[in-house]
Amino acid sequence: MENYIVAMLVFAGLYGLMALGLNVVWGMAGMINLGLVGFFAFGAYVSALLTKVLGLPIWFGVVAGAAGAAAAGMVVAMVTAKLRGDYLAIVTLGFSEVIRITASNEIWLTNGTDGISGIPGPLRGQVTPEAFNLIFLALVAVVVAIVVFLLQRVRHAPYGRVLRAIRDDDQVAAVAGKTVIRFKVEAFALGCAVIGLSGALYGHYTSYIAPDGFVPLITIYIVLALTAGGTGNNYGAVVGSVLVVFFMESTRFLTEVVPGLQAVQVAALREMLIGGALIVIMRLRPGGLLPERLPRIDLPESNLPQEKKAT
């Protein structure tokens, strides 16, 4: 049971990283990414292949996984940067499918649908599985803390302000002299880097990745986590991910109570609940549990024009 809880917390951390990545793209810059599972898979495969096949150190694989996902994100964003957001939605959704098709068919590289097993993990085999679980949980917690810290810095920096301006009205941002396209591509790549980082860690934790593990449902989990937590809020992304993992796992127990259902029906019911929860939260509480609070900017009193002061 303790192992189960630790494993779920690791997953909450990995989902939290993805939600943080999505928060940069969607929460800060207002760009859609419906294929984030594709970037997650990309990071996982890059890191798994580098460490397992080429025998490179794990840290290198993780960094390369994040960088690879960022590069893929950059290409996707550059193709659609000038276009309306709808096109990015279509391209990202397509991207994740293409990644899955490629991973299933390039058997020489990815071992096809059988997946890659025996991916090395830090200290795996040298300590007991319980200890490995705890070490990995600590590692994920540290990574999440570092990413939250860095992204909070980005959020409060002028850079984050520009992203919010682009999100709210990119024409105004352009008029103010910001190179909107460059910011958009950078934000998208940054978000994808965090998502790829999560994917790389995922592979090293479970030691096994396969195309079946990268289904579109995961994208919905993450969108749900970010929306429930609070779009635009980095802490909300993490809180939302913990809630989503808790919700998913509790539905596992809930459906055991309903008698007379086949396994496939139980699985279908759980997925329905996830999708339904996202729709309900978007309707009833679009700001999430921790709605975004804009950083206060204190202007020096004396510089304010008189009439502004009156209002």
Binding site: G30, G94, N105, V223, A268, M272, I274, M282
Partner: protein
Amino acid sequence: MLTEVVQLVLNGLMAGTILAVPAIGFTAIYAVLRFPNFSVASQVTIGAFAGYVANVTFGLPAPVAVAFAFLVAGFSGLVCDEFVLRPMRPAGPLAAAIAAVALTIVLENVVRFWFGNDLRGYDLPVLRDWRFAGLRVSPQQLENGVIAIIAMACLFGFLAFSRMGKAMRAVADNPMLASIKGIDSVAVGRLVSFVGMGLAGLGGMLLGLDTSIDPLTGFRAILTVFAAAVVGGLGSIPGAVVGALTIGVAEELSLLVLDPAYRSAVGFVAILLVLTLRPRGILGERAF
């Protein structure tokens, strides 16, 4: 070699004719409601299964079952839009797009809940392929193509001649002007959801008639449907037809050089190429 290429082009044109039906549904909804309604994926599946129930459970012949698929998917699309997506649209097209993906997951699992994950096939007469000049055509494919063409002809007639069809085009063209002229944009939105999703469902059944169906039928087809709509020009109905034929032929011709598993990746490459070179597509309007 030449016969092989001609055969592939022929297959591609027939596949494209069928693909055009859901692509028109997607693009028509985009034109009027201004957001990419990804739940076409689930309505394709729902139509395929509605047709399955009519065809296998009630024993109706395929051309009649197709009408049933249209009605069930259209009605389901209308209800979903009314209660799920329409309230989301004021929050912006991207929020509605996200909700549409969540909706797809829900509906796909409703189908899975009742029918399970097994592959199912329609109850069809077994017919021998027709052969002439070294080319093969299956009568079933031909029948599917004819059904698709009839459905499209009905739609074009509706858009060109009926009052409601003209209203639909007016809203798509300029929503502001249409509302000044007293066109009820909500009613037009409902109509386009019904017709668009109905076409998606009809297309789903036509796709299934060729092979088999399962709850993921719609999702697997969706990349190709997007590709058809984007290549033709998102929001343009004639564009969707041209795009679907292009993608259909391109997918078949790709078999000459690519592994069949990569067929649906062809659509993605086509999307990237079109967005890079001519974002508005073959017949579309401005894309930014």
